[in-house]
């Protein structure tokens, strides 16, 4: 696939941009902070997203999906990312839904994915236990109990943990924390006995938090994929999710850049537009290049997934590493070039830095992905 949008993709992008611009209230990011009863997202917005068909994009027609690809998923994620929209889309469609679509049984797919597509079901993935993304560092134990399992442990940084109806939980049925073998994924109800959600508001006004499991019962039918082979699903899932997250990050980086360039053209200081100062010009030029390079690698990595290319996982590492760095740079340069006003909560630019930081640390930061890439390439 060529690294340009097809006509259909351009239409999708335009309609997504319209929707985000006109329906999403950026100020929601501030309002949610005072709202202790928040669901962690705006249900009305999510309803509209469902109506637009976005939740159905990557799923097969059998389960009510549109059978489109990551290229299309990336288009809508980028547009949502531009205005820092908060929805349980990434956790439901990409993470939870992605896990079921990749590794779920036919029954699980039939039970879960139609609900994801029609918006009646919200999912998330609970895997992280240590401070930094490390997929095999799972200690949560699933011990055999009769025909089923009892799961106990604690998960951290579970995105949208408050709103999810069902959770895909990584637990250990063999081996030790750090081992690739012995991981098993379970599909659990949010209301299961012994499952305790403790959520909060993240830096960037997304929701997330801890999940505590105390002897949570799971049946053999709740196992996603095969016992002890959860890593096969997780490896592919995280690779894809990293690219999806990068598409969203690209949108944010692009918008922070665009806003700042506009500001450079308007703002006057020392009797001139500040955009006429070469010091800022050169930094803006470099920033432009960084965002362009990010856009290219995001497009390439999305298509590599759709095409099942051999280099897809390598590209995913390159993609998330660069997205993390470029978005962080965009947040920082955005504030610095706006000056004092950029530091105020009243102004929007600061929210990009916050989203950049959370997104950077979710699913592995650039150092993590450099190391992964090095291992794949045999460095």
């Amino acid at each position: 696939m060529a690294l340009v949008l097809t006509e259909e993709q351009e239409l999708l992008r335009d309609s997504a941009r319209d929707f985000v611009t006109n329906q999403w209230d950026f100020d929601w990011l501030r309002k949610v902070r005072g709202d202790s009863d928040t669901a962690g997202y705006d249900p009305d917005i999510y309803k509209q997203i469902v109506e637009l068909g976005w939740t159905a994009i990557p799923f097969s027609e059998e389960v009510g999906g549109l059978d489109l690809g990551y290229a299309e998923l990336g288009v809508v994620l980028e547009e949502m990312g531009r205005k820092l929209m908060v929805t349980p889309y990434l956790s439901t469609v990409v993470l939870g839904g992605g896990a079921i679509a990749l590794g779920g049984t036919a029954d699980q797919k039939a039970a879960v994915l139609p609900g994801v597509c029609d918006g009646s079901l919200l999912l998330t993935l609970a895997y992280q236990e240590t401070s930094r993304h490390d997929p095999y560092a799972v200690s949560t134990a699933a011990t055999v109990d009769g025909d089923g399992y009892r799961i106990s442990g604690r998960k951290t940084l579970v995105l949208d943990v408050q709103s999810a109806n069902k959770l895909v939980v990584a637990a250990r049925t063999g081996g030790n924390a750090g081992d690739r073998d012995g991981l098993t994924l379970f599909l659990l109800d949010a209301g299961a006995d012994g499952l305790k959600v403790s959520g909060g508001l993240l830096l960037d006004s997304r929701s997330g938090g801890h999940l505590t499991l105390e002897n949570v019962a799971a049946s053999a039918a709740d196992v996603v994929g095969e016992v002890n082979a959860g890593a096969d699903i997780l490896d592919e899932l995280f690779s894809r999710a990293a690219v999806a997250a990068s598409a969203e990050m690209l949108g944010g980086a692009q918008d922070a850049f665009d806003r700042t360039v506009e500001y450079l053209k308007e703002r006057e200081q020392f009797g001139a537009k500040i955009g006429s100062f070469q010091g800022l010009k050169h930094r803006a030029a470099r920033w432009f290049c960084e965002v362009e390079l990010l856009r290219s690698i995001v497009m390439d990595a999305l298509r590599a997934i759709d095409e099942g290319r051999e280099d897809a996982r390598e590209l995913a590492c390159v993609c998330k590493a660069r997205a993390s760095d470029v978005y962080q740079m965009s947040g920082q340069e955005g504030i610095q070039m706006h000056g004092g006003i950029g530091m105020t909560d009243e102004f929007d630019i600061g929210f990009y830095l916050k989203r950049a930081r959370v997104s950077e640390l979710l699913l592995g930061d650039s150092a993590y992905h450099r190391n992964q890439f090095a291992e794949m390439r045999g460095f």
Partner: protein, 397 residues
Amino acid sequence: MSDLETFRADTRAWLEENCPSGVRQPDAPPAAVWGGRRAEFYNDDAKVWLERMAEKGWTVPTWPTEYGGGGLSNDEAKVLRDEMQRIRANPPLFSFGISMLGPALLEFANEEQKKEHLTRIARGEIRWCQGYSEPGAGSDLASLRTRAVREGDHYVVNGSKIWTSDANHSDWIFCLVRTDPDVPKHNGISFLLIDMESPGVSVSPIQLISGASPFCETFFDDVRVPAANLVGVENDGWNIAKRLLQHERAMLGEGARSSSMGPRRKTLLEVARETLDAPEGRLPDAVIRDEMVQLEMDQACYKSTFQRSADAAKAGRGPGPETSMFKLYLSEMGQRGSDLRQRIVGAEGLGWSGAEFDAEEVQIAREWLYGRASSILGGTSEVQMNIIAKRVLGLPD
């Protein structure tokens, strides 16, 4: 015994007798006394300590005694500082009056002004804030538009100031105002002292990306200020302002030193050892380790540079444009440090609010965000580079 040794012995004895345990670590809380009409003391000892030190003139040890100072030489002041550190005594008083306004008044004010204001600063009776920046002016300070019009023996002031730190807790504000709008911008500026209880002054705190902040916006609506509160010559305030900015940059540059005020933070190494679960031996994350080392090394270079500057100052050079270098570096090193800290703790430093996140986690995130201000406020890094290029390197406009 040399005079200085005698002074040291006397000072040590006096401190031993007069410095109450409640202002000495570890008894003293990590808090500061800022003085002012609404002064707050973290405990009774802090109040006694301020009174006793003010009595000796040791809140401002090097100021002349006639203005409430201690009349000490720089060497004696250093002895006093050393001895206070030895017994881990909190400073009796912090204020912008001491660090910024005072030195400027000593240099530029008339006798009445010195008598009135310096003594009250020394005793902690008046808390001052700074009114320089204006909305829309940013680093281009001289483009300020707050207007002061002379009417008889008063100025009438209209306009607003931004980034007035702690204005909501302050009693007076030292302000740059425009007294002549018809001359090139640096020329028509005056330096005015304004009592914030004057009718027409109002203050509104600023919310930052990191949450609540010490910064305010301060508004002036037909505020009448006695002409006697003009410091120096009308329309010649820019010179005072520049001098004061140098003191401010020197103070910000020295920030690393006075950071002993806060509770001891875990070092980056301690945080990394905890988070990476590596209580000893080589840190398992080689890339993080390398970044941490680079930061430590840069801090060592900064420390040597600061020392070199101090040694040069002893040889007679005051704070000059190279203070821009300190401001530039200190802010960036601080940013790198809090950035690294947050990246190391990862998931544990991403919370904004909720019972879910403990105070330390939230603090890491807030500090990281707040730290972005350090390369902007007090003159952006870009302005510091401009100053270096122009005043130190002599590059053409």
